[in-house]
Symmetry: C2
Subunit: 211 residues, 2 copies
């Protein structure tokens, strides 16, 4: 398998964690977002939306990080990244979507660029925008976790929800967001980071990492 | 089952379509977003994120529209809303996420309110923002559909991807977005709207509809 991705892209990091949890080898193919390599012809031939990550698995090309992780879970079921019961699966997917739909899309690079370049908002307002969605979004996740606290987001093993949560915390830390209001999230984050699948795939450990 | 939702919320409409495709009865419980009913104590006790929709199925409370539709597909498998093969499932999920992660989160009511009230951007700039994400996001979806055109987003039966696409087109039309650059999407939209599951659950057909 080949993973087209970028060290600092949190959608990419989600998939790196899932591949590592499943013990799958892959070629790491960097796509430099700040240099706009995702908009080059070579990459858009693979992914018309010009977004990372893209997974190539033989004949299959899969986009969208959550779809990639579900695909990996279906094609390589062990260890499972979703619980066995429908209610548990729904809870894990909802937690992942609470981050992937309510926080991350508002704060990715192309959106921040559009805010400052096209909407002409100031750097200070951009940072305020960023922190608002991270802090309010994580607060909603915290309440869901506190309703049924466990070692990981759901139960005693990492799931899709943890694959999505951990990269979001990296983003939050990079933009100096408040995290003191989400203690259960931070306990889960620490439990995840104790595992090589999470720590060994973090942005600073990637082949294309920059200071 | 009970569905807490709002006639004009496109995330709500996705779930109404899925319930109708599966022929499932439910109580329609309106939550008025413009009056901020989603932030009242009664609703946040059910959904801490204060977002619609929420599905209550006996003991289970499920949030996030895509998680709800996957839950319905697992608990009521006929007719299936995902293909049988892993590659097809990945394509359908990616199409759904292309809209649910890349377009819709940037344009929902709370985000538009934050842009105008907190970031103090003008009404014109807000509309320009809205149309930018709809038009560029749908363009990426169009290219994916044109790579393997079919009656619905994926094949000859409606899937999760159609449940997400159709409400997005309603939003696009409401905000006068360009749609002449996405002919395959509009063919799929027309095929969907010919079915009562899509037309009978549209915003104007809801019990809480307003002019």
């Amino acid at each position: 398998m080949q993973l087209y991705n970028y060290f600092r892209s949190s959608a990419s990091y989600r998939v790196r964690i899932a591949l590592a949890l499943k013990g799958l080898d892959y070629d790491y193919l960097p796509v430099h977002l700040v240099r706009n390599e995702q908009q080059g012809e070579a990459y858009t031939a693979l992914n018309t939306a010009a977004l990372v990550p893209t997974l190539v698995d033989g004949e299959q090309t899969v986009s969208q990080s959550l779809a990639i992780i579900e695909y990996l879970d279906e094609t390589h079921p062990q260890p499972p990244l979703l619980p066995a019961d429908a209610a548990g699966r729904a809870r894990v997917r909802a937690l992942a979507l609470d981050i992937a739909c309510e926080i991350h899309p508002l704060n990715n690079l192309r959106v921040l660029r559009f805010l400052t370049r096209d909407m002409r908002i100031s750097e200070d307002d951009k940072n305020r925008w960023y922190r608002h969605w991270v802090e309010t979004g994580l607060s909603a996740v915290e309440q869901r976790l506190q309703a049924a606290p466990s070692r990981f987001c759901h139960g005693e093993q990492p799931t899709l929800a943890d694959c999505v949560l951990v990269p979001q915390i990296f983003n939050a830390q990079r933009f100096d967001c408040r995290l003191d209001h989400v203690p259960q999230i931070m306990r889960v984050f620490d439990a995840c980071m104790a595992l090589p699948a999470f720590s060994g795939t973090q942005p600073s450990a990637c082949p294309d990492a920059e200071a």
